[in-house]
Amino acid sequence: MSGDSAVATAVFGGFMVLTVALGLLAVRGRGAGGGITEWSVGGRSLGTVMIWVLMAGEGYTSFSYLGAAGWGYNFGAPVLYVIAYLSCGYAIGYVVGPTLWSYAREHGLVSITDMVAHRYGRPWLGALVAVLATVCLLPYIQLQITGMGVVVSTISYGAISLDWAYFIAFAVTTAFVVVSGLRGSAWVSVLKDVLVIGTLAFLAVYVPVHYFDGYGPFLDRLVAEKPQWLTLSGHGGSGLGGTWFATTSFLNSLTVVIFPTTVAGYLGARSADALRRNAVLLPFYNVLLFVPMLLGLAALFVVPGLTGAGSNLALFKLVVDSLPAWLVGLVGVAAALSSIVPMAVFMLVIGTMWGRSVLGLVPALHGRPRRQRFAAQTVVVAAGTLALALTYAAPNTLVRLSLISYEGMAQLVPMILLGLVWRKLTLWGALSGLAVGGVLVCALVFNGHDPLWGVNAGALALGANLVVALAVSLLGPKPADDRPDAEVLAHDPPPADPAVSGRA
């Protein structure tokens, strides 16, 4: 092991220990007590700052470092869709967040699967959605594992092999999330945000100065030599034009607000108003996303000729090439935590959905929050192990996987968002829509028809989903459900209403 790699690896190792310690510290004094609500949604007690940190932490994943820079490098402008959909999603989260929050609080729910089970009055529907959502989330965990593995291996100058790096990602995350749940994830997010904001702000200034004598010359050169990268549909005949950009951003903005991990953040909030304040502040975080994209473009000049999965390393090639070892280690830690935090929440959500909506149906667990919590923790370990095994056995390129996850999850939008505000959407309507949308997404994506006619395949599927859901709801059978609307539907709690925001 050379000197550089020893330094970078030591910095990295130190911070990993700190991460686990922080996660464990988060629940000190709360012990192993509390049921699934404490573990899954932090006892619904997180304030604005923690929610901001946590949700920013979920949004800013290893994709931001690897895929975003890689897309910037390969295609250019199309990658900006990430910023577009996050901004739009955070904005409508102003309404959706408090609505879901108050619904869950009123009825004692801890996940989206809980919500659909309650809304449609069918526990098995919650179990079904939990299984489908898990299928969509598992590739995401794998994505974080591979993302972190690549980063760790690169910043250790190859001293830590990919396989070991994957294992470290899995072990660190599982260790603290099993013990500390959502609260621990929020605490680790604080460390992560400090490092991410610090290192990216530094890189944003340093890289252009180091390689191009400043922003002016860098941007001038970019405009003069690489104009193809600077508008849609980007460089290299990607087919990712304006229509694709708009439909993808629109679809993802709807999906991100019901994404199980986002919802976990919503439900962790102390009050509806904490979420509203958060919706104002969160979009600022997206400014940071411009940095890896610009650095991906800068890499075009510095390390030309990266192809395929190698282009995902565009940013780190610059980092390793231009910085001293301890700083390389620090950037690596920031990127690694950007895998760990979202991965922790993904695993937590899978555990929660199964603990409550699938295994919670088992009589021995029904209505027993502590046993459900234990079941959930067991599922976390199982899900993590499965994702790790998939990583070794079936590795894949980063971005495609996340698109399948998103387009699949998008098919839950009518069942959840529309269902919670519109009573006439029936169980069979929502289910048929989901089935049609889900099959269509798989058919299009796996046969290489995404985008189709320039339109995001998931958006087409969502259209079909919605039409079928409406048609079946209005024309099909109407299940008997004599609960009053107030019991079944969700509403945005009135602002600053002490009866809602102050209730214990």
Binding site: A91, Y94, G242, S249, F284, A496
Partner: protein, 65 residues
């Protein structure tokens, strides 16, 4: 929604990022050296919190009234 018209501010990012796209998908003129599309999207990213803030401000006024 109709009772809280200020919630329309939440659609601001959709207009800026998606609606305006055909008009802003261009390299020139550059602003502060930034290609125009990048400049526009950066502007939209800074204006989005302002839009959400306006929705919230109106809600808070109603809450006090």
């Amino acid at each position: 929604m109709l009772k809280r018209p200020a919630l329309l501010w939440l659609l601001l990012p959709y207009v800026l990022y998606l609606g305006a796209l055909p008009l802003v998908d261009r390299v020139h003129p550059t602003v502060l050296g930034l290609p125009f599309l990048f400049f526009w999207l950066l502007l939209a990213t800074l204006l989005t919190p302002a839009g959400v803030h306006l929705a919230r401000r109106s809600d808070r006024k109603r809450g006090r009234a």
